[in-house]
Symmetry: C2
Subunit: 548 residues, 2 copies
């Protein structure tokens, strides 16, 4: 058993209370005013855990300046920069991440749908500028940018923009095998094999010209280089051309990364067009722009609903099922506009959850081969692809559980953390109201982890934030370890509930329309959205983030 | 006597209580915990008067969209657009603004220093984009942009940027008659008379090259055109060249507009360099950048102190003297980032306060002639110029009291208000918790105003926001009429106290240094700042926003 003496009395009591007494919690949930009150208290406690924004620092400088307080192209940070004594060489840390003998540990109850949603959702607001890793081009908001893009020019490129009846407010689509998808990004006539084998090839030149303002799919270049090394230039360029033909024109640079992220993006794209059709019918006087904007308002709030009511409830070990009541933040002192902390960007690296194979349809596909290959999606269709994702468990989050191909990505996280002088695991425990640990045995009861940490760091006080975070044991019923859970809850609630669309004067029928508000009220899970966006004649599908 | 039946019971009680019982208020101010409590309650009541931001609309569109909620290059707005029935033609409204027979009414106790401070201060954040009057390039913050500019490039142009001892963190200056000022903007060799007479002349071409990124002084072109019309091209270009030689390189496009605004900008420029010197001495290890940024942090908060403790207290009819306690907003539900409403931009047009002549030194100068002529400032020096401004009363704010030269500017405000479809005076009374008026006699007891309003609008419900606002009587001890007072208080407090520099994790010695915090604590009035920035050998000066 793990040494629990440094868990903190109040923390233990709170965790116990919330993850026991299922009948009491069911009773509370059955009485609407009690349910609202409990929801508000739990969310406010989590979102008020540390002092509200603005924080003292951003990644701009080691002291506070007017620029550091205003320039949101930098990440904020919870804690000031701090150098740790003698951090281990990143090369010596491979063993900490790699799957240990005996093979990977599966997650208790998280499906690949959960893992893919986490990936696709976080890619919508965690973007690091590749040219200066202290900086970002995020809007710091949940805004469905993977669907709509990051700028007016990108959004316009993705929109059908006529006033013609039946097309008002719609996003561009293409039909494949009788189902609706985003249009393809590349112009096939520009995908010349010799070019693709050339290391200097710029993929943006092969975009359809209508999409010239869109971002480059982020892993396209890396994947191409890998394929050239593995297969040699000619077979690689043939494979790259094949992959490129399946790439969708999406708003987000990473939405094409796996068939599952592409499926989730497709889902919200279809929902946008469904909403636009509904609004066009209900408000014949509205122009293209108003239909588009009102559908987008609604679609963004649908995502927030899913995040709170399906995703967070899956992560949380609580019996109480939280719900997205916008008013929880209206009078809250933690209602301060979001500004993504670098530490949050780092902690969301949940690569260990990615299995080495995906089960798609009836096939087992090595993850590597599925990358950027949307033919897996279009062959099986949206519903079957998402069903596959929810019939398979992901791996368990934590050390000794990262697939070989992703270990380098873990080490890149460690390097980014050090470049930004992120402090120790204990510093962040303290910041988030956990007592500092004094023995390795207080972090985990896993002997392998304890010895590895001891060898690498010597002293618990020297453990890096990012390593300590993933070294903790995952409690029963939870999807992530305790410190991460607390940080994710803090950030998720203070992010989602401060979205301007949920604010007191904005969250009403005038902003979303009567139909939009009803849709918001009737949507709780991805399944709800999927089953109103099936291909004609398809039967309702069962999908879930929780493995059953 | 004005008909007070529509003032509202609670409003009357509140106003009575706060503007009577001076001895009680003095007693409260003498007991620190009571003083802090009263301060917090009065500020929170004013800042919580209407629902907190974000508002439903910006000037982008007549409905709410993700863009309208995110794009801060538009003004926000308190109320949705609304068309008023049969508004009078602007040309027919001249008489409403022009000084009536019998001459102008002087303000009871507001000096030209108060009026000039209002002008200079508001010009720091109320900027309308001349190419699209729905838009702005403000930061929506009190940030001393008239001193520091609006962008990194502008700030850099205004800074001395060496690591040399004795110059760290300083702004560029020039000495004139033994006193410190900003450097001159124009390169005299580029001020060619033929060019200045050419209507197409672009003044930016005559800037010193180091200042090429600075904004054009906003009224330079208009003033030049006026002079060409009045004096003819040749004498006009000589006068323009003379004026241009006195123009300072400032961050704000309007800071050169009168010798008094230039004096206020000079005051904060000198204070910056004084602070930088103090920090350089105290922290020899700091580099140029850190000294600059820390001096700026402090200087911005000094401006906020002056705004709350001198400016707002002058405007307010209350006996209680408010003070800038940063913590009033830390737990406040109105703590939401500022986003300047268009209505606030409009209501701050206090042109009627500007007299037709300035008294500078021993001279009476027509305001028109003083425009952009900083020789009045440099000849007399900073202290004497500010003393002149505080020995002269401004005119009283309101209808029938605008100097001839500014009447067109008032009409431009009316036009901007209509372009943006700003609603009625009664709509805004209601929004700010005053009962709607039902008779003209409830607005003012001035018979001329009543008949003019009656003739122009027929019905009290049709009175435009901007006209009703200035038609109200000014209560005893106040500087502005009641609705405007309430709107200004709401905006000033929710603007000033949500400045990130005052926030809970930022307002401390780490951000400002020990010396900076002490300076902030010891500064309450412009006089405090002036008397530590006198020319060598000068005696302390007495200046005040309140006429004595």
């Amino acid at each position: 058993m793990r040494d629990r003496t440094r868990d903190g009395c109040l923390n233990r009591a709170e965790a116990y209370w919330l993850s026991h007494f299922p009948r009491m919690w069911r009773a509370i949930m059955a009485i609407p005013p009690l349910r609202r009150l409990a929801n508000r208290k739990i969310i406010s406690r989590a979102a008020g855990r540390v002092k509200s924004r603005p924080y003292r620092f951003s990644t701009l400088a080691d002291y506070t300046s007017w620029e550091s307080l205003m320039d949101r192209t930098y990440f904020s940070r919870y804690l000031p920069p701090r150098d740790l004594p003698n951090p281990p060489l990143p090369e010596s840390m491979t063993g900490l991440f790699k799957v240990r003998q005996g093979g990977p540990t599966l997650s208790e109850d998280s499906t690949v749908l959960f893992m893919s949603f986490a990936q696709w959702f976080a890619d919508g607001f965690l973007m690091t500028d590749p040219d200066d890793r202290r900086r970002t081009f995020t809007s710091h908001q949940i805004d469905l940018s993977p669907v709509y893009g990051l700028s007016r020019a990108q959004t316009d490129a993705l929109r059908v923009n006529p006033e013609a009846r039946g097309e008002k407010g719609r996003m561009k689509t293409e039909t494949v095998n009788g189902e609706i998808y985003a249009p393809r990004l590349f112009d096939e006539t520009k995908l010349v094999l010799e070019d693709l084998a050339n290391p200097k090839f710029d993929e943006q030149q092969a975009f359809k010209s209508e999409f010239k303002h869109l971002q480059k799919p982020s892993s396209f270049k890396r994947n191409r280089e890998r394929l050239i090394t593995v297969l040699g230039p000619k077979p690689a360029s043939e494979r790259v051309a094949e992959l490129a033909k399946t790439t969708f024109a999406f708003g987000g640079e990473r939405a094409n990364i796996t068939p599952f992220t592409a499926a989730l993006n497709t889902l919200f794209l279809r929902e946008h067009n469904r909403l636009a059709g509904m609004l066009e019918d209900a408000y014949p006087g509205w122009d293209d722009e108003r239909v588009f904007q009102t559908a987008r308002n609604t679609n963004i709030v649908l995502l927030i609903k899913i995040v709170v009511e399906e995703y967070i409830n899956h992560i949380s070990p609580y019996h109480f099922q939280l719900f997205a009541d916008p008013s929880v933040s209206w009078r809250a002192i933690w209602n301060r506009p979001n500004w993504i902390p670098l530490e949050f960007n780092l902690l969301y690296r949940w690569h260990s959850m990615t299995p080495d194979k995906f089960f798609i349809g009836l096939q087992h596909v090595p993850v590597k081969e599925s990358l950027q290959d949307n033919s897996y999606l279009t062959t099986r269709g949206l519903a079957e692809t998402l069903v596959s994702a929810s019939n398979q468990r992901g791996w368990r989050l934590g050390l000794f559980n990262t697939a070989d191909d992703l270990v380098q990505v873990e080490l890149a996280g460690i390097k980014q953390s050090r470049e930004n002088r992120i402090g120790s695991y204990n510093d962040y425990r303290e910041a988030f109201k956990y007592p500092r640990v004094t023995r390795f045995e207080q972090i985990t009861d896993d002997q392998d982890r304890i010895s590895a940490l001891q060898n690498l760091y010597g002293n618990v006080d020297n453990i890096e934030f990012l390593v300590g975070l993933f070294a903790e044991d995952i409690p029963p019923r939870a999807a992530v370890p305790p410190l991460m859970g607390r940080m994710v809850a803090f950030d998720a609630f203070s992010h989602a509930f401060t979205n301007p669309l949920l604010s007191e004067q904005v969250f009403n029928e005038k902003t979303f329309s009567k139909e939009g508000i009803e849709t918001i009220q009737n949507t709780h899970t991805l399944k709800d959205i999927l089953n109103r966006n099936l291909a004609p004649g398809q039967r309702p599908a069962e999908i879930s983030m929780t493995y059953r």
